[in-house]
């Protein structure tokens, strides 16, 4: 199953042309509080395509209390569009009642892990469905971390029964920024735990990479995606995100469809090499 991140600039093309695509992913917060055109369009698109909801503001890793007003609206939106699942990021976005609207990294240690696991259980219970957690890209690592990110991502699956949204581009970005082997990350993800993959472009500044979701997916990420499919299977749905300098729908669609024929890992990169 191959999908595209739903963006307002493409609404008209999608409803007019009904392109061949397996599903759309909508950013939850863009539709929770709008009763205007975006909501109307989402409802129309949900009549024709499966929808998954992807959030950026659950703040699951924060020490602030969970926002049940937000969760109520999320649950209602999910029911309205018959979302196949709800995902958000394994991160925090704000503290002390303030929101940075950024996906901020967590210290990877037992304290954080248990804090997050308890909140994932509370959210899943409230939503009546297992939460799907995505690995966020990061630009900084904490001195208080005591385990690698891949372990920190995999452990909540055991502790809470949640599923994962494995962002292959984010694995690549974080591997570049923190100097680890991205394949080691993929190897640590339990097979069967992944509901969805993400692919996207990014911006390389030389000293570090920022996850900008701009431009096409680079070859190295396609190669890592092929490796991921080999290790974790192609049952999870794959989604292309394109959020900056968004081109016409046909270009985004063509980029997404490359996932249906993702190249096999080159011999030098293959796990069998």
């Amino acid at each position: 199953m191959i999908g595209i991140g739903l963006r307002t600039t493409h609404f008209t093309d999608i409803l007019r042309d009904e392109p061949e695509i397996d599903f759309f992913e909508a950013i939850s917060e863009n539709f929770m509080d709008s009763g205007g055109r975006p909501s109307f369009m989402l409802d129309k698109i949900a009549e024709r395509y499966p929808i998954v909801l992807h959030g950026v503001s659950m703040n699951i890793g924060s020490t602030d209390p969970l926002d049940f007003d937000y969760l109520r609206k999320l649950k209602s939106l999910s029911k309205r569009v018959n979302a196949r699942w709800l995902s958000d990021h394994l991160c925090w976005t704000g503290v002390g009642g303030r929101n940075t609207h950024d996906l901020l990294p967590l210290p990877y240690n037992e304290e954080t892990l248990h804090h997050v696991a308890n909140r994932v259980l509370a959210v899943s219970d409230f939503l009546g469905a297992p939460l799907v957690l995505e690995n966020a890209s990061s630009y900084a690592e904490f001195t208080s971390s005591s385990m690698p990110e891949w372990e920190f991502l995999a452990r909540p699956v055991e502790l809470t029964g949640c599923r994962l949204l494995l962002d292959v581009n984010n694995v690549y970005v974080s591997a570049y920024n923190h100097g680890f082997d991205p394949k080691r990350y993929i190897d640590a993800i339990p097979r069967g735990s992944v509901a969805q993959y993400h692919l996207a472009g990014h911006t390389n500044y030389g000293t570090h990479i920022i996850d900008t979701h701009v431009g096409p997916v680079i070859d190295e990420v396609w190669s890592l995606y092929a490796y991921t499919l080999e290790r974790l299977g192609n049952d999870p749905w794959t989604l292309l995100e394109w959020d900056a300098e968004i081109p016409d729908f046909a270009t985004v669609h063509a980029e997404a469809m490359k996932a249906s024929g993702a190249p096999a890992p080159s011999p030098a990169e293959s796990i069998h090499a």
Partner: protein, 243 residues
């Protein structure tokens, strides 16, 4: 420990003294990479903080952002979010206090753009058929406007300037009292000039006055009433009526 770490990182990101805090304390919290120091790494997040809000506010206030230019608009956003940091899961309402943060033409233009954003996002409401208004009891009726509707009293030619922005023409602000209806129909936002009387009449109805009381208060002519209701009925401006 986690709470302390998050509050520290928030202060580095959002506090104007963030870079100084990072320079002093980053190594205690953040590991360096092979290419960046601990402070440089955490300051990546600081660098994106204002620009993220500037991008969000420029989407809601495109004409104001254009009028001020990038540097001045970003400076405005930095000052604004220091006073009005986001406290919500959504960025949609972040800019609601921006007009009150401004003066003169900029405030007037921001009020217009805020009204347009609010109207764009409002919940859809049904539209009443005004031909069903009972003629014998019309004066005792209260007409309820649709939610996606705002009535503005402006002090500058902000609507003209907004149109100039849309048309990629120069904005030429000048002081002039004028009145505007901003409403949504078929999911499109419309801006319509109003006379002062029409503005006052809609204000009275919006405040819950009966048609009769609004007529007594504003004193429109029969011709004005006919034209208003013809236009407002076509615009689908009322969601219901009743005594």
């Amino acid at each position: 420990m986690l709470d302390r770490t998050q509050r520290w990182m928030y202060s580095v990101i959002a506090d104007p003294s963030g870079p100084a805090i990072a320079a002093r304390e980053a190594e205690r919290h953040i590991l360096p990479s092979r290419t960046l120091s601990a402070a440089d790494r955490v300051l990546i997040y600081t660098g994106m903080y204002v620009s993220r809000f500037a991008e969000a506010l420029a989407a809601d206030y495109p004409a104001l952002a254009h009028y001020l230019g990038e540097e001045q608009f970003n400076d405005l956003v930095a000052r604004y979010i220091e006073k009005h940091p986001s406290t919500s899961y959504t960025l949609n309402r972040l800019g609601d206090a921006l007009p009150e943060f401004l003066t003169g033409f900029e405030r007037d233009l921001a009020r217009l753009e805020l009204a347009m954003t609010l109207v764009f996002d409002e919940e859809e409401t049904p539209v009443a058929d005004l031909t069903q208004l009972p003629a014998d009891r019309a004066e005792s009726m209260r007409l309820v406007p649709i939610r996606a509707c705002r009535v503005l009293s402006l002090n500058y030619n902000s609507n003209e300037c907004f149109q100039a922005f849309r048309d990629e023409a120069p904005m030429r602000p000048r002081r002039t009292k004028n009145y505007l209806l901003v409403h949504r129909k078929d999911y499109s936002v419309h801006r319509t000039r109003l006379t002062k009387k029409a503005h006052d009449f809609l204000r009275e109805l919006g405040a819950g006055k009966t048609l009769g009381d609004a007529i007594v208060s504003v004193k429109p002519s029969q011709h004005e009433l006919f034209e208003w209701f013809r236009d407002w009925s076509a615009a689908g401006l009322f969601q219901s009526f009743g005594e």
